[in-house]
Symmetry: C2
Subunit: 298 residues, 2 copies
């Protein structure tokens, strides 16, 4: 498969996970530890004799402290880099190791020693795949242990603890009222000239077996701080500081408000990124790029 891609180089899809606590977010920044920075440093080391050092394109740029269980990124390798991976796979002895597996293993060896970032899988991407522009949805989860939940020290790094008891039914009603295509300006940290129109495809709340409140949210894309603002609005409903109808009314009012708090990063996990079938990947990426170019943001 994908033989031509390899003669010309190959686009590689990475499926990865991280504990956000030790990172200043996904995006590379000087003098601070970020997920992209650690992985790109590992790529630069791995390919130092076969430049250029590959750069990563990611599906969901997570903020400082936000976790990921199902993040997706891509990188492009030259045919010389692919051949380098193939040689590394052969030099292990025994059956030759698939070059994409060599890449995942080397990245984990170089960037994963602290075990807080892990490449689950590297694979040759199908034609037209773009980790960012081909994605059709992103799914996040947020966890709150309130007064009624068991507060588990072993899960504290991904769970916010509160002392209030929260009304999960009221929170679920507020969440359901928000589903749809809308302008989320009231829930987004503003970025100059960027659209705040998004389709919130689902938003639910339930208690897990330990009583922890779990929010699940899916949208075509989320604007900056949107998930944590939506969770904050529902938490205000759960503690009766807002009525169940207020989060929708605040969205319709259209401007940012102090009626609820943006929740802390550590309760948030990027769970999964959705892509269309392979035949649709290129068309989807093209459509996304066109929409962004109509948008004064880009």
């Amino acid at each position: 498969m994908a033989g031509e891609q390899i003669d010309d180089g190959a686009r590689i899809r990475l499926d990865l996970a991280y504990d956000g606590a030790g990172f200043s977010g996904w995006a590379r920044q000087p003098d601070t530890r970020t997920v992209q920075g650690e992985l790109e440093a590992a790529l630069a080391t791995l390919f130092r004799r076969v430049p250029p050092a590959p750069a990563l394109v990611v599906a969901g740029r997570t903020d400082a402290g936000v976790h990921a269980a199902g993040q997706v990124a891509h990188l492009d390798l030259t045919s010389e880099q692919w051949a380098h991976l193939r040689r590394l796979g052969v030099s292990r002895g025994g059956d030759p190791e698939d070059p994409a597996s060599v890449l995942a293993r080397k990245l984990n060896g170089l960037a994963g020693r602290a075990r807080d970032v892990r490449v689950h899988r590297a694979s040759i991407a199908p034609d037209g795949f773009d980790a960012r522009f081909s994605a059709v949805w992103r799914r996040y989860e947020y966890r709150i242990a309130d007064a009624l939940a068991t507060k588990d020290p072993l899960q504290r790094s991904r769970t916010v603890w509160t002392t209030d008891p929260l009304d999960v039914d009221a929170m679920a009603a507020a969440a359901a009222s928000l589903v749809g295509l809308a302008d989320w300006a009231a829930y987004c940290r503003p970025r100059p000239d960027a659209t705040t129109i998004r389709e919130l495809q689902s938003f639910t709340w339930h208690r897990d077996e330990q009583g922890v409140l779990v929010a699940r949210l899916q949208a075509d894309a989320f604007c900056h701080s949107m998930v944590r603002a939506l969770v904050g609005a529902c938490a205000a409903v759960g503690s009766r500081r807002l009525d169940a109808g207020d989060p929708l009314a605040l969205r319709e009012a259209g401007s940012r408000t102090s009626a609820f708090a943006v929740m802390p990063a550590d309760g948030l996990v990027l769970v999964e990124v959705g892509y269309p079938e392979d035949a649709q990947l290129a068309a989807r990426a093209q459509r996304t790029r066109e929409r962004r170019s109509l948008d004064p943001a880009s």
Copy 2:
């Protein structure tokens, strides 16, 4: 209920959990952070005006780095200390708070700020209850993510990662062969004059939904390092360094061996401690004490 106990003081049962990573085990030691040390320091602070500072008796003395989800301990309070808790509950205003709840809340406020130890519940213990001597079984869980499992950074603090693929069926067969009343000298770090006879009541292995190998072990009690040695013997079977029959043969040989490794502490969680019905508590504690006094250990 238990009115007489309170006039005379009360025995309190604590149900608690901790992440072992930040502790040098359960047992109090000078100049090092331990779970008992942190909780007893909190008790000393809480009762500084109504001495004596209570001491804790625990069901399972965990080693450095071992976690607990369902640890049980007890402490004895004088009637003055109980009255102190009652006053603290009233001074909050509104409905008076149950004194046992006040105790849990204060311990969490004083010892739980790092969120790595959490008192789930404090309650007046039934007559005859002794956290250590009334216990009829202890249950532990051990987690290994091998080459076939998803290695989740968010679960790394309670999961050991290995690069070998492990054969879970062979491990389950080895585990099942070990169930029963036996002398576990081959699996125990020796303590002078202590018996190594224990009843291993169940020992199973399965893969969870992420492919992580999970061992569940239950015994009347475990001797020192026994769980981690049993897990190590099964892991050696899983990676084909031992045959499935070897762990039993090694137990019957009766002496410690280098055929397997004692596994790291961080994969281990004390999950639950079992007690008999209330009417049996005192008799059980008496029997346990008698058995220990027949045993040259005590």
